[in-house]
Subunit: 160 residues, 2 copies
C-alpha cells in the first residue's frame, strides 16, 4: 500500500482553516477525521452491495442477473478505492475518535494489503458469477464473504 503521511494529507485538507497558517494539530485532526469518515462510507457501500448479493445467494429472493451484476460491479469498484488517502497513519482506534481500525493495519501492512486485495479478487469473481447463474453466484459469495470476515477479524477492533 502506498503510504501518504498524515502530514501530507493534513496539508491537502487544511483549506477550511483560514489564514495560511502552517500546519497545526487541528489540521492533522481534521484530515484524519475526514479520512475515517470516507472509509466508513466505503464500507457502507461495500455492505450495501453485499446485502443485495447475499439475499440472492441465500435464496431469499430470486436470482436476477442485472441486479446482481450491478451490485457486484459496484462492490468491485468500491473495494478497489485507493487506500492511501483512506487509511492515514495514526487513524487508529484508541488514538483518535470514531474508528475501529486496529494498529495491525499499519504494523502488519502487508497482511492488510493482502486482505484488501483478497476482497478485490473476490469482487471481480462475483462480477463474472453474477452474469452467469445462481450457482455461480453462491460459489463466488463464499470467497467474498470470507474475505470480509477475515479482514474484520484481524483488523477491526471492538465497537466503540
Amino acid at each position: 500500500m502506498k503510504r501518504i503521511t498524515t502530514f501530507t494529507l493534513a496539508a491537502v485538507l487544511s483549506t477550511t482553516c483560514a489564514g495560511g497558517i502552517a500546519l497545526a494539530d487541528g489540521h492533522a485532526e481534521k484530515a484524519m477525521a475526514a479520512a475515517i469518515e470516507a472509509r466508513k462510507h466505503q464500507m457502507q457501500l461495500n455492505g450495501y452491495s453485499m446485502g443485495i448479493l447475499g439475499a440472492m445467494a441465500k435464496g431469499d429472493v430470486a436470482f436476477d442477473a442485472a441486479t446482481a451484476t450491478a451490485a457486484a460491479s459496484n462492490l468491485a469498484a468500491t473495494a478497489k478505492l485507493d487506500r492511501s488517502i483512506l487509511w492515514l497513519d495514526g487513524t487508529i482506534q484508541g488514538e483518535v475518535p470514531n474508528t475501529r481500525a486496529k494498529a495491525e493495519i499499519w504494523s502488519d501492512a502487508a497482511g492488510f494489503e493482502k486482505s484488501a486485495t483478497d476482497l478485490e479478487t473476490a469482487a471481480d469473481a462475483l462480477v463474472a458469477a453474477a452474469g452467469t447463474d445462481l450457482a455461480a453466484l453462491q460459489e463466488a459469495m463464499k470467497a467474498a464473504g470470507a474475505s470480509c470476515g477475515a479482514c474484520h477479524e484481524k483488523y477491526r477492533g471492538p465497537r466503540n
Copy 2:
C-alpha cells in the same frame, strides 16, 4: 440508465424481514431507505475526493501528483457506480424521507444520465491531469466542478 423497479430491489433487500412473507409496504420502504443511504455514501466519497483535488487546484496546498492521482482515481470509481441500484423509482424528496432527489431525476432521465456521465468524463480527465501538473489539474477541475454544480442545480432539491 437501466431501471430496476423498487419492487425488484425491495425483494432483494427484504431479507431482514423474517418469515418469508411476500412483499409488503415495509419492504419497499426498507429498500428505498437503503438505496437513499447508499447514494449519500457515494456523494460523500465524491466530495472527499473533490475536496483533496480542490485544495490543490486552489493553491492552498502544494500539488502532489500521487495524492492527486489517488483522489482522482477514487472520484472516477465512485462517479461510475451503477446507478440502477442507487436511484430507485419513487425515492423522491417529498414522497419518502431523507432525500433531496428531485422528481426530475426520473421525469428527465436522459438529462440526469447526461449529467452523471458528464461527471464520469470529467473524473477521467482529472486522473490524466493529476499525473501531469498543477496547471492541468486546475483546468480539469473546472469541468469537474461544473458538472457537480449543474447536476445539483437541476436535480437536487432544498435542504430538508
